[in-house]
Symmetry: C2
Subunit: 347 residues, 2 copies
C-alpha cells in the first residue's frame, strides 16, 4: 500500500532531482531518444525501477487527490493587464471552490522554472501561465520540453500567443482581429498612416501586431511604418516616452502612433503633449490592452480591449474542463475576440 | 490514533457548521458568557465532547503540519496599492518557500467572511488581510469577534489602520507621519492652505488623515478645509473627478487639493486641467499611496509613499515570526514610515 502510494506520487522531477539531472535528461533516458551519458542513464533507470515510476503520471497525479488549488504565474501583478485577467479568473475559480496561488516570475526565466517546480511539488490541480518566456518567438528545445513535461503532469493553460508550440491548451486574444478592428476604425475616421512601436520583435505579442498591421495596411490602403526602436524598447511607459521623444526630433512620419500596449501609448502621448502637440488634433495615439478604466485610472487612450471578463472566464473554464476530464491532451486554442474602446486620443 | 488526529484538526468552525450556528455562538456556549438557547447549548457541548474539542486550537493547528501556504485577502488586485504590497510580500514569501493564495473580496463583507472560512478550511499557515471592512471606523462586535477567533486559530497579520482593535499583529503606514511630511513640505514651498477630500469618514485611512491634517494645520499655521463630499465619495478616480468638478463651480477654497489617495488626486487634477487651470501654477494636487511609478504609469502627483518594499517585507517577516513562534498573541503593531515623492503637481 505504501509502495503504491509512493509510486503514484513520484514524478519525473523527483527522479531528476535524485539523479541530479534535468527532467529532460530523465525523459531522454526513459524514451531512449537523444543523448544521455551511460553512467547517468543507469542511475536514472535504477531510480525508475526503484520507485516503479511510470512516465504517464498525469492521470496518476490526479488520482492522488485534488488539492483544489491552482497556480497562476504572471511576470508582475503590478501590470494592469495581468491584474485584470487574474481578477476575473479568480472570481470564477473561487466560485468553483478553487484557491489560486499567484506568483510573480519577474519575467526571469530561472525564477519561472523554480515556480513551476514549486507548483508541481505543491500538487496543485492546475496551472495557468501568462506572459514571460512563453511569449518569446525563439525558444530553446529544452524550454519547450520543460513546458510539455509540466502540461503532461498537471492540467495546464497558457495565455501566451502561439502557445500551440507547447502542445497545451491556450487562451489568448485574437491580435489579428484586434489590429483589423483598430485599423478599420482609424481608416473610417480619415487616418491614412499609422506608426507602430514599442515592445520587441522577439516577443509574439509585438511581432504579430506588426505583421498584421502590414497586412491590413495593404488591404485598407494605409501607410504602415513599423519601428520597435530596439534594442532598448520594452512594453513600458518609459519606452513609449523615450521612443516618442526620439521620433519628435524629425518630422512626424504618421498621423496615428500605435503603442504595442497602452503603457507604451500613454508614454508616447505624454511626450507629445510635453512637446506642445495637441492630441488628437495634431497627433493621435492608440494602444492595446485597455488598461485604463474610468473608475480606476483612465489612460484616455483608444485601445483594443481583451475583454477581461470573457478572457478570465475562458481561462478558468478551459482549465476546469481539463481538470475534470483528467486528460492532458486538450490542445484546443481559444481566441478571445477583442473590442475597440474609443477614447479621446483619436478623433 | 485516528481519534487524536481528528480532535487535533477540529476547529470551532467545524463545530459551528455541524451545529448550524455561528462560531461566536459556539464560543459563547463553551465560555458560558453571553446568551445561547438551551437546545443549541446542549447540542454544541455534545459536539465538543464528541470531538474532544479544545478551544485552544491555535497551537494544535500548527502541530497538524504546515502547508507552507499563506492566504492574502485584498478588495481588488487591480488597485495598484494592493498590487504593490502583494508583489513585495510575495517575493519574500516565495524566497522562504511559502506559496501565497491571493483572494479578492470585492470589499464585500459576506465574500470576505467566506474567504476567511475557506482559508481556514484550507489549513493555510497564515493569513494577511488588507483593506475592506477591517478599516471601517464602526464595526459590529460580531465582526470583531470573528476576526479575533480567526487570529486565535491561524497566524494573522492585518494591514488595516487601527487593527489593534482585533488584538492581532498589524502592519500599516504611519499616516500621522505622512501628513506631517506632506504639510511641512507644502508649507516650506509657500503654500498656506490645503483642501482634503475623497474617501469617506467611515474608514480609518480617510478619517485619520483628516484628523492629522487639522492637527498639523494648527501647528504650521495652514488653513485646512476638509470635505469628504459624502455620501458618494469613494477612493477612486471618478470620485476625485466629480468632486473637483463640484468644487470648481465656486471660487477655489485652497491652493493645494489633497486626495485621500492618488486615484482621487489624479481624478481631481484631470478635472482642473479640463477646466483650463494650470497645474501647479494655478492649483496644486497631492495624494497618498504613490501608485504611479515612472516605468509603470506615472501619475505625476506629489504623493506620500508607503515604501512598498519595506511594507511588503515587514508584513511577511511579522507573519513569519508568528508562524514560527506558534504563539497567537503577538499584538505588536509595526508602523511603516512613509516617504514623500515630489512630482510636478506641486511647485
Amino acid at each position: 500500500m505504501d509502495e503504491q502510494t509512493r509510486s503514484k506520487s513520484i514524478t519525473i522531477y523527483d527522479i531528476a532531482k535524485e539523479a541530479g539531472v534535468s527532467s529532460a535528461t530523465v525523459s531522454r533516458a526513459i524514451s531512449g531518444k537523444g543523448y544521455v551519458s551511460e553512467t547517468k542513464k543507469i542511475q536514472i533507470l535504477d531510480l525508475v525501477e526503484k520507485y516503479n515510476f511510470s512516465p504517464n503520471t498525469f492521470a496518476q497525479n490526479l488520482k492522488t487527490g485534488f488539492t483544489k488549488t491552482i497556480g497562476f504565474i504572471v511576470p508582475h501583478i503590478g501590470n494592469m493587464y495581468f491584474a485584470s485577467v487574474y481578477y476575473e479568473f479568480e472570481k470564477w475559480a473561487s466560485s468553483h471552490g478553487y484557491m489560486t496561488i499567484l506568483l510573480n516570475s519577474k519575467g526571469d526565466y530561472e525564477v519561472e522554472s523554480k515556480l513551476l517546480y514549486s507548483l508541481k511539488e505543491k500538487r496543485v490541480d492546475g496551472i495557468v501561465m501568462m506572459g514571460g518566456r512563453m511569449d518569446a518567438v525563439e525558444l530553446s528545445e529544452e524550454y519547450i520540453r520543460e513546458i510539455r513535461e509540466i502540461k503532461d503532469l498537471i492540467p495546464f493553460v497558457s495565455c501566451a500567443t502561439m502557445a500551440e508550440r507547447f502542445g497545451c491548451a491556450a487562451v489568448y486574444t485574437d491580435d489579428g482581429k484586434g489590429v483589423e478592428l483598430l485599423m478599420t476604425h482609424l481608416k473610417s475616421k480619415g487616418y491614412n498612416s499609422i506608426y507602430m512601436f514599442g515592445g520587441g520583435d522577439e516577443f509574439y505579442p509585438a511581432y504579430l501586431k506588426k505583421k498584421y498591421a502590414y497586412e491590413f495596411g495593404k488591404k485598407l490602403g494605409m501607410k504602415v511604418t513599423v519601428n520597435w526602436l530596439t534594442p532598448n524598447m520594452n512594453f513600458d511607459y518609459r519606452s513609449g516616452y523615450i521612443g516618442m521623444k526620439m521620433l519628435l526630433e524629425k518630422p512626424l512620419e504618421a498621423e496615428v502612433f500605435c503603442g504595442v500596449n497602452d503603457y507604451v501609448a500613454v508614454g508616447a502621448r505624454d511626450a507629445a503633449l510635453e512637446a506642445g502637440l495637441r492630441v488628437p488634433e495634431d497627433i493621435a495615439f492608440v494602444g492595446f490592452d485597455d488598461i485604463g478604466e474610468e473608475t480606476v485610472l483612465p489612460t484616455h487612450i483608444t485601445s483594443v480591449s481583451p475583454c477581461y471578463d470573457v478572457f478570465g472566464k475562458k481561462v478558468f473554464t478551459t482549465l476546469h474542463k481539463i481538470m475534470q476530464d483528467k486528460k492532458p491532451h486538450d490542445m484546443k486554442t481559444s481566441l478571445i475576440k477583442p473590442e475597440l474602446k474609443l477614447r479621446k486620443s483619436t478623433k
